[in-house]
């Protein structure tokens, strides 16, 4: 017996049971049949035709007008039948899109992968979590032959796929920078020209770039309109904003960036972030930078990587596990 015949038989049984005795048990059978029909893609017009045929079989003496009314009902249900089929095909398409985006997200992950340098002087922790599948934040580490460590963090204004596509470009622009040009201000100036030249004018990128030299413990940095990070001074136990002025990437190709310097002492921390961190929204509104400092303090005794992981988990919980923006947090902790 094929599915359709089987279905008709079930419908016949359930309907005749119900007509004999109008009880909930038979109606429950009806609900189960409804699910089966959906499972086997039976459209509403077929159900009505099935119903009419069953009635004719069960009550041959039924007035013709009553039976005719089902032909009218069948015609009315045609539109629902078409809408139902469209819905199924759209669902299928959505599934395909989802799979495609998942693959794209994996490709992006591989493309943007960066290795966290392993040096004695600095303990490094980094985490970057996209709000949706694809990430519009990006961070990057490089280590040159003089053991200097470059750290870049960038955020495309906007999120999702367009932002992610844009980010891949930054990564390749960074990779093609000449070795000797890792001075933060020249990195930002080069990238600014690339972005201005290649990216849609409606898209802007904020970026922070820092360079740490373990030999003289200098941290030099520059910012292109990026969310300011924090600096933790171990000697005084105070946190301060890592302020740096600079225009967003892609606005004006002649933009010059200012470079700032800081001497990093033992136990000091450099905290870099994207606005997805500070724009975490809890029930009481955006979190304050103070709240964030509180979280950092609470986790300060941990390894840098554990710190960023923990802070992410705590912020995720505070906003009920709904990320509104891509989230990136980097902590550099000085050991010398």
């Amino acid at each position: 017996m094929d599915i359709r015949e089987n279905m008709e038989k079930k419908y016949h049984e359930a309907l005749s049971t119900y007509l004999k005795d109008q009880n909930e048990q038979a109606l429950y059978q009806g609900q189960k049949i409804s699910r089966l029909h959906i499972k086997y893609n039976i459209s509403p017009e077929e159900i009505i035709s099935m119903h009419k045929n069953n009635l004719m079989e069960l009550y041959p003496e039924l007035p013709g007008k009553v039976l005719d009314s089902f032909d009218f009902l069948l015609e009315v249900m045609m539109g629902y039948g078409i809408a139902y089929r469209e819905h199924q095909s759209l669902r299928h398409q959505q599934q395909e899109l989802k799979t495609e985006i998942e693959i794209a997200a994996n490709v992006q992950h591989t493309l943007l992968e960066t290795e966290i340098p392993d040096i004695k002087a600095l303990e490094i922790g980094a985490i970057s979590v996209p709000a949706r599948q694809m990430n519009g934040d990006y961070y990057h580490f490089v280590q040159d032959e003089n053991e200097r460590i470059g750290v870049g963090i960038a955020d495309v204004i906007g999120k999702g796929i367009p932002a992610a596509l844009c980010m891949s470009m930054i990564k390749y622009a960074m990779d093609s920078l000449p070795e000797h040009r890792h001075e933060p201000k020249s990195v930002l100036e080069s990238l600014n020209r690339v972005v201005e030249h290649n990216v849609d004018p409606s898209m802007f990128i904020t970026m922070f770039y820092g360079l740490y030299d373990p030999h003289d413990r200098q941290f030099s940095y520059a910012s292109a309109g990026h969310e300011p990070g924090f600096y933790y001074d171990a000697a005084t136990g105070a946190f301060s904003d890592l302020d740096a002025k600079g225009l967003l990437l892609g606005v004006d190709k002649k933009t010059r960036y200012r470079q700032y310097e800081k001497t990093v002492n033992r136990g000091d921390m450099i905290i870099l972030l994207s606005d997805g961190v500070t724009e975490c929204r809890t029930n009481d509104g955006f979190i304050e930078r103070e709240t964030l400092i509180g979280l950092i303090k609470k986790n300060m005794h941990l390894q840098a990587q554990e710190m960023v992981n923990n802070i992410y988990k705590q912020l995720e919980k505070m906003q009920n596990f709904q990320l509104r923006d891509d989230f990136t947090l980097i902590i550099l902790k000085s050991n010398v």
Partner: protein
């Protein structure tokens, strides 16, 4: 070709005439009520498209008998503005009339074969077939 019959679509009532013609032929060929309704709805959608977007045109119904298989063929033709982007009008969820699932993709789903040719500025020809099982 054994039989062909044609309805000119000029005003809305001609849609009814086209439906009627399609239903009669479908019945003669032995299509069941559900398939009759599907064929009629497809004709309705195609005729409505002519009426709404081309102003006028025609819907012809043909009986087919190929290798012992019977079928019904709808030919909807107009000399209207034509369709610039066929892929787009065949897309689900895209409809200018705002209805759910209506229009050409809806008509296509109700039939077994569906073929569309259109030249912008010259007109559109749609051939749709349903086979008797």
């Amino acid at each position: 070709m054994e039989f062909q019959s044609c309805v000119k679509i000029i005003n809305e009532w001609d849609i009814v005439a086209a439906r009627q013609l399609g239903r009669n032929v479908a019945k003669e060929l032995g299509f069941g009520t559900v398939d009759q309704a599907r064929i009629t709805t497809a004709i309705s959608e195609l005729a409505r498209n002519i009426y709404l977007y081309a102003g006028q045109g025609s819907v012809s119904i043909e009986k087919l008998n190929i290798n012992g298989k019977s079928g019904l063929k709808i030919i909807a033709e107009d000399q209207g503005p034509g369709i610039e982007d066929i892929r787009r009008v065949m897309e689900d969820g895209y409809t200018t009339s705002g209805g759910l699932g209506a229009g050409l993709p809806g008509a296509k789903r109700l039939m077994d074969d569906f073929d569309i040719e259109s030249i912008p500025g010259e007109g559109t020809k749609i051939i749709a077939t349903k086979w008797l099982r």
